[in-house]
Symmetry: C2
Subunit: 206 residues, 2 copies
């Protein structure tokens, strides 16, 4: 689907509102008003509100696999590449956290008829990239073998999102008063924690 500038503008406004208020909470009138277009333009451009969400997902569904592949094929040690991959992943999900929140919520919403298959296929592709890397590291004797590879990404992403979904709590205990403090915490403290966790897991005997 070809998207012109105005359509992309509407999608980005919609993404913000849907992440803030949920799909049902973000009415087409609110989206149209925030994007400064007429209500009818949403139906005109996307067909329906549901199709707007699908368009947003497709638009955001992205080039992650390519970037991960390039990082993993770098000429450095396995553990260094783990660090690089995790830093990349956290940077990406932090930048796209609104979209991920929508995915988490709307893909498990029984009323929504979204293209789950496309999303699953996307994840399967990404998964195989990681799987190959881990298995290569195991063959090289760097990583231990009794690891559930499918749960490594949930641990990486989950740590970030559990932080994100409990922001009020972490704001208190780490004094994260503004957006800058929060970004710093994510890119330093949290990233280091996850890097350490995964490296520990991948080298932990028994």
């Amino acid at each position: 689907m070809e998207l012109n500038e105005k359509q992309i503008h509407i999608l980005l406004v919609a993404e913000k509102l849907i992440a803030e208020s949920g799909f049902d909470g973000a009415s087409v009138r609110k989206i149209a008003k925030a994007a400064k277009v007429n209500v009818a333009m949403i139906s005109y451009y996307f067909g329906s509100k549901e199709k707007l969400l699908s368009a947003l997902m497709t638009y955001r569904t992205s080039d992650f696999r390519i970037k991960a592949e390039s990082v993993l094929s770098e000429n450095s040690s396995y553990l260094e590449r783990v660090d690089l991959l995790i830093a990349l992943v956290i940077k990406r999900i932090h930048a796209n956290r609104r979209m991920y929140k929508i995915v988490h919520f709307e893909y498990s919403n029984e009323n929504r008829k979204l293209d789950v298959e496309h999303y699953v296929n996307q994840k399967l592709e990404n998964y195989s990239v990681i799987e190959n890397f881990i298995k290569a590291g195991q063959e090289a004797g760097v990583f231990t073998k009794n690891v559930d590879i499918s749960l490594i990404f949930p641990t990486i992403l989950g740590t970030y999102f559990n932080f994100y979904y409990n922001k009020p709590f972490f704001k208190v205990i780490h004094h994260l008063d503004n957006a800058n403090d929060l970004d710093d915490f994510v890119f330093n403290t949290l990233t280091k924690h996850v890097q350490k966790t995964i490296k520990a897991l991948l080298t932990y005997e028994i």
Copy 2:
């Protein structure tokens, strides 16, 4: 607020529907129909739909404290107690996953005016229990010291919820066709993965 049996019944039905469809997606009529009561009973008993959500949160978060003290004071090694604690925590969040999902999404919904403070206070209480345990283990020389204690729970809970929020993907790669398979996966594979991850993290040198 005193709750009679019928009110609790309505709350539990509402919890299921809100977790499945979101607060805006779960209309009072759907809730009333599923609970087999007249629509007016929701206003009659709770005042409004928003107040029903508040009542649900109060009902659920009042006994939120992880009864971890008994597990952590058992007469076993630090690493064994880590295993016990994680198994307990995963069991609890799996049983209360619907409520957690509502918390994750509705507490960060800008249209909702929920009492965040009560929830944060609960989390702070739970946090201090874990913090004391980890520090004791560090003093005993079992756990390493350069760990961000505040991020241990996000890693535990996050791994579970990232699995839960991406169920369609995991159903495919692990052939989790029914609820039983899913429970088994959570209580065996996923629990073991988290136990191993946290033990590795807590004993990982640099």
